[in-house]
Amino acid sequence: MFNAFVQVVRKDLIGAFRQQSEILNPIWFFIIVITLFPLGIGTDPALLSRIAPGIIWVAALLSALLSFERLFKDDYIDGSLEQMMISPHSLTWLVSAKVFAHWTLTGLPILVISPILAIFLSLELNTFWALFLTLLLGTPILSLLGAIGVALTIGLRKGGVLLSLIMLPLSIPILIFSTMAIDAAAFGQSYTGMLALLGAMLVATITLAPYAIAASLRVSVS
């Protein structure tokens, strides 16, 4: 069973690296959106460092939305999604593998690039550390919640905007807690409570979302 997980992750990663633009485009989008804000709002470092966490989080949400297209679409089109559904392995487990692979291709790059973007937005070190931790805990939650939305809309023709409508309201609590944690860090206060809440949300989502994703896939692919 663990072997099945590893095989699905390997297949997704190899497939993604063969089409590298699929990985890089959402990352470029992330960087460009964040670059737009200083140009649009003004380059005052104090102002930028005040709004930087919010901007980075919103940009992460939006670029995650862009990248969800590739989560199940290719498998749906060529039929391997159906093969996964009728295989003897539990669909919940295989779906977790796919979402994990998706996170390594979208959430992990965001984590890696965030220091550079923090410099663009004049973010201080302890605030940046809070941002990094909230992204570390929050991006997997975004991948899981988005996967539910993708699974629900995979069979629809114009599913893209509908995906945003479904996914964004569910992501608002994560956004709120992350920015509260980062604001607390900016004022030098302890933010471990917020991180604990985010961690709790992560644990709840990791355990429950795969079932919702599998159920949604069974509805969409029938």
């Binding site: 409508l165 709120i176 159920a215 509805v219």
Partner: protein, 253 residues
């Protein structure tokens, strides 16, 4: 023990039962609405701090309670539909969603109208208001998802799954005034304690809550019947019903 329920998994039986129940809900809703509204707006004593502008509570609180009540109904129906594979339960989810969305909008709108004189702001991003706004977005997402599928059986199932995913918002809304430092006031009646409101103000509020709840029931049954007719329009009983209705309309008119 539950065999008496089984016939109602058929659309025709549920259609008939809903038709019989609808007038009763309206019979409760209309008088209580009139009594509660007039009592609350004209006869309840004025608040010592807010004066007469507190009276919007008689619309705001029932609407907000029923917004969450409609969502709980949808969540229970979604659960039943998914676990026991009952199509009519999933139809209920689709039928209730727009009504719940309108109740949520009324709660937000009347809340803003109340907030401007009281707090000085139409809108603040405090926990209760934000989570209620999220509820509205979740409702709209469910409605959009249901309308996006052309196969309504699949649409019902997808909407049910999304309803159950979003149900986490309900305890967040309810406890938002406890968990966060909010501008919105705390719970006055939905708590395990004496209500923190005078009886002369509370009784018309309870009457209005009953009225809004009965009206929610009426509207849900109305939309439920419409949904049945739309989805089962190819069945003989629906065709007969339509023929009978048009005969009545043409024969008399």
């Amino acid at each position: 023990m539950w065999k008496w329920l089984h016939p109602y998994a058929k659309a025709e039986k549920s259609y008939a039962l809903s038709g019989k129940l609808m007038p009763w809900f309206l019979a409760i809703a209309l008088p209580t609405f009139v009594v509660g509204l007039i009592w609350g707006l004209a006869f309840a004593p004025a608040d010592y701090q807010q004066g007469d502008s507190f009276r919007i509570i008689y619309i705001h609180v029932p609407a907000a309670m029923m917004a969450m009540g409609a969502y709980s109904t949808m969540a229970i129906a979604a659960f039943i539909g998914l676990v026991w594979q009952i199509r009519l339960a999933e139809m209920t989810v689709a039928a209730t969603a727009p009504i719940g969305a309108v109740y949520t909008f009324i709660a937000l709108f009347t809340g803003a109208a109340w907030g401007k004189p009281m707090w000085g702001a139409w809108w603040v991003w405090d926990a209760r208001l934000t989570s209620e706004l999220i509820l509205l977005f979740v409702y709209l997402g469910i409605i959009a998802l249901y309308n996006a599928f052309s196969d309504k059986v699949l649409a019902g199932r997808a909407a049910s799954i999304l309803t159950l995913v979003g149900v986490i918002n309900l305890p967040i809304i309810h406890f938002s005034v406890v968990w966060w430092n909010t501008l919105h006031q705390g719970a006055t009646i939905t708590k395990f304690d004496k209500p923190s409101m005078a009886m002369e103000m509370l009784v018309p509020l309870l009457i209005m809550i009953v009225s809004f709840a009965a009206f929610l029931g009426f509207m849900v049954l109305y939309r439920f019947r419409n949904e049945i007719l739309q989805r089962e329009s190819h069945r003989p009983w629906v065709i007969d019903l339509v023929k009978l209705a048009s005969l009545k309309a043409n024969g008399r008119g």
